[in-house]
């Protein structure tokens, strides 16, 4: 396919420049001016409409915490133990979840989808496209990251049952305990004298090969705890949600923390932070820490992502920052920027043609390509 006359926001330097984009075999092969259609090539004339990469959600539970989950299909949070390192979102993923449609409504074409927030270690994320011919064609990475939750959610879940963790001290101790075990297990294996097989430890030990760790932390002390643990064990990590990040910018800068900023829409920090508010949107313009955004769908439902991006703009965050936070930055933080997040030759043809400004309530997605296939 050849997309002609795009007003291209490629997230790699072009900002509204007129370009043509050639897509072949699911990939972007060429970007240029005045490209001629080949014989039998389908042409889509964008007629100057804005074209962006498909959005990337760096943290969601779509397909796992599925729509209408109250009575059945509560698949996001295994119960019984706060340490669930052996769980894989991959195995629960329901590709017909309406939540995935809701993601597409906002223009999301790739996402990390993972377990919920009830456990200290919830399991691993799957990285999927939000559309495709089959589940296997949708999956980019079967296991991309571990989910660690340092917020109140596990403390409420287990503390309420008179089990650990009830306190932040236990949050730290239990996660560190698992990581010490995993490190010893990893080292033993590397030295050729492996310990007896233990599923949880075997799985978790992959973090010492650089597998991404996503630490969910909202309040200032939990964010510091995340950084302390990550540095102690030399982990490849992001801090997610992190509404209190606004209060501790110097600390985050000093420690080179990458933040997957959670929603600022509707007091989403609950009792843990009063910083989850749109007033903070403009502060991100010159934040001293490195950040992208994520939905934590269903917390911020997929359908609300694009309207939320509009609200961020209304409250002063620069359009370029917003779009990058949901494309290239998210892809980089999630470790999938080799495939998605920008419109560049060699990358997956995940492309949105908008009827108008992508950051306007009233704009529609006139064309959505995922891996070069038209969706919807």
């Amino acid at each position: 396919m050849l997309i002609k006359n795009a007003s291209l926001y490629d997230m790699a330097g072009l900002w509204g420049e007129k370009r043509d984009i050639r897509v072949e075999d699911g990939k972007i092969v060429k970007i240029g001016e005045g490209l001629r259609a080949k014989k039998d090539e389908e042409v889509f004339d964008a007629k100057g409409r804005p074209v962006t990469p498909g959005f990337v959600d760096a943290g969601s539970s779509a397909g796992i915490a599925v729509q209408i989950h109250r009575f059945d299909r509560q698949e996001a949070n295994e119960q019984g133990s706060p340490i669930q390192s052996q769980m894989r979102a991959l195995d629960a993923f329901y590709m017909f979840d309406e939540g995935i449609e809701q993601m597409r409504e906002s223009g999301v074409t790739s996402m990390l989808s993972g377990p919920g927030n009830d456990n200290l270690i919830g399991g691993t994320y799957v990285v999927v496209k939000t559309g495709g011919k089959s589940f296997s064609s949708m999956v980019i990475k079967e296991e991309a990251a571990f989910k660690f939750v340092l917020t109140n959610a596990p403390r409420k879940n287990y503390g309420g049952k008179q089990k650990s963790p009830q306190t932040r001290m236990a949050t730290g101790a239990m996660i560190r305990g698992e990581l010490f075990k995993a490190k010893a297990y990893y080292d033993a294996k590397a030295s050729g004298k492996p310990q007896p097989f233990d599923m949880k430890t075997e799985m978790l030990a992959r973090v010492f090969d650089g597998m991404l760790c996503k630490f969910y932390a909202i309040s200032e002390n939990d964010i510091r705890l995340a950084v302390r643990i990550a540095e102690e064990f030399g982990l490849n990590y992001t801090v997610d949600m992190a509404q209190d990040a606004f209060k501790m910018q110097d600390f985050l800068a000093e420690h080179n923390v990458r933040v997957c900023m959670g929603s600022l829409y509707g007091n989403t920090g609950g009792q843990e932070s009063d910083e989850g508010k749109l007033d903070n949107a403009s502060k991100l313009n010159d934040a001293r820490f490195d950040w992208c955004m994520e939905s934590n769908h269903p917390m911020l439902n997929g359908q609300v992502i694009q309207p939320y991006m509009c609200l961020l703009r209304k409250w002063g965050l620069q359009p370029e920052k917003i779009l990058k936070a949901w494309t290239i930055k998210a892809a980089e933080f999630a470790g999938i920027a080799d495939r998605v997040g920008s419109i560049e030759p060699g990358k997956d043809a995940d492309i949105l043609v908008w009827s108008g400004d992508p950051l306007d309530y009233y704009s529609n997605i006139d064309l959505m390509l995922i891996d070069g296939e038209k969706i919807g």
Binding site: R70, P307, K314
Partner: protein, 384 residues
């Protein structure tokens, strides 16, 4: 006195949309005319280039009821809660109301939750004022009730009624029969008849459903909406159907019944079965059917800052702009019977006015100045 000059006024009243000056005296709107000259001790606010609307009205929310982390609006100890009052529980000093004010919302109905079949009475209140008490429009504006999943879920897991929709309506109708009998006996007693009437705290409170108050009944699914309508007809209730999620499936029934309808919240996900038929097209369908309705955030379900966003998304899905504006102003006020005071910019009404940088349904629209009861409560976007 405050004189708003050169308003691009979307009045939501008989004056429609036009260029006007608006004069405020005390807490009321004194005059609206193409040209009003300032005289005497008048504060002038030039609205040239701005859009002026009535303060927005939220017909169903829970502000101040959960803002401290607890829930003070669901007494889940029995499905029938008579005599409970939201006004005793709501923290009117909560930041929730300041947020509402910042987004141009000046009046709201604050309700008990939907965990019980009969949850208690809801209040109507302004988002700002000199004191908490002075902000109250009606401390008890009517009763809040609920059909559907929430009461069923709460009580069935305790092996109590209601475990079914039949159980829910039977329990509610039982109360309606009781209060009807109680009221007849009470009125006869008051008229001098010695009929052995005895004061009953709960039923005495519930009597207000027959006194021209709007009874709000939470109903998402079509069968729940129809059950609410059936009971309202049977007992002569002034009904407002809350949520109307599946309303698009039965618009003819809604039209025929002629009650008040409050749609929403709609923008976002579906957590439970009774939301399965949620659609962004519903308001457009309801408009086409000629229904008068409000659109609600049910805030905190959708935060106050999403009120206009939600309505804009409905406009994107076919709702007309004028109808969209009505659903969060005059028709919302009508749904809770406060349209004699608020919901439009008209002479004699409360001076609740928002000055916007542009049409409120535009993406970049912001409330710049908000006047509540004739007093500027927000200026340059900052709460005073």
């Amino acid at each position: 006195m405050i004189l708003l000059k050169n308003c691009d006024l979307i009045s939501m009243g008989p004056l429609g949309h036009g260029k006007y000056d608006v004069l405020i005296e005390g807490s009321k709107i004194k005059d609206i005319a193409p040209q009003i000259d300032a005289a005497g001790d008048v504060r002038l606010i030039d609205c040239e280039g701005k859009v002026v609307t009535p303060g927005l009205v939220e017909a169903h929310c829970h502000l101040g009821g959960m803002s401290d982390g607890g829930s003070h609006i669901n007494e889940i100890t029995g499905p029938i809660q008579l005599g409970l009052r939201a006004c005793d529980a709501i923290d009117l000093d909560s930041d929730d109301f300041k947020r509402a004010l910042r987004h141009g919302v000046t009046s709201m109905a604050v309700c008990p939750g939907s965990s019980n079949l009969i949850g208690g009475t809801y209040m109507t209140v302004k988002s700002a004022g000199d004191s908490r008490e002075s902000r109250i429009i009606r401390a008890e504006n009517g009763y809040k009730m609920a059909l559907g999943e929430n009461p069923k879920m709460n009580y069935s897991k305790r092996n109590q009624s209601p475990a079914t929709r039949m159980g829910a309506t039977a329990l509610m109708r039982e109360q309606f029969f009781k209060v009807k009998n109680y009221r007849e006996k009470y009125l006869a007693h008051e008229a001098g008849e010695d009929n052995g009437w005895k004061y009953d705290f709960g039923l005495h409170s519930l009597m207000m459903i027959f006194d021209d108050t709007v009874t709000k009944i939470h109903a998402h699914s079509a069968e729940d909406i129809l059950a609410a309508i059936r009971m309202a007809k049977e007992f002569g209730l002034k009904l407002s159907v809350e949520h109307c999620t599946a309303g698009w499936q039965i618009v003819d029934d809604l039209k025929e019944a002629g009650f008040r309808y409050i749609f929403g919240p709609s923008l976002g996900g579906k957590s439970k079965n009774e939301l399965a038929d949620k659609s962004l097209e519903t308001p457009a369908i309801m408009e086409k059917a000629g229904l008068r309705f409000a659109i609600t955030t049910d805030s905190g379900v959708i935060p106050m800052e999403g009120m206009l966003t939600q309505v804009a998304v409905h406009v994107k899905h076919g709702l007309s702009r004028p109808k969209a504006m009505k659903s969060i102003t005059i028709d919302a006020a009508w749904c809770v019977d406060i349209d004699d005071r608020v919901g439009s910019v008209e002479v004699g009404k409360d001076a609740d006015i928002v000055i916007w940088n542009m049409h409120p349904l535009e993406t970049m629209a912001k409330a710049e100045t908000v006047i509540v009861d004739g007093v500027v409560r927000l200026e340059n976007g900052e709460v005073l």
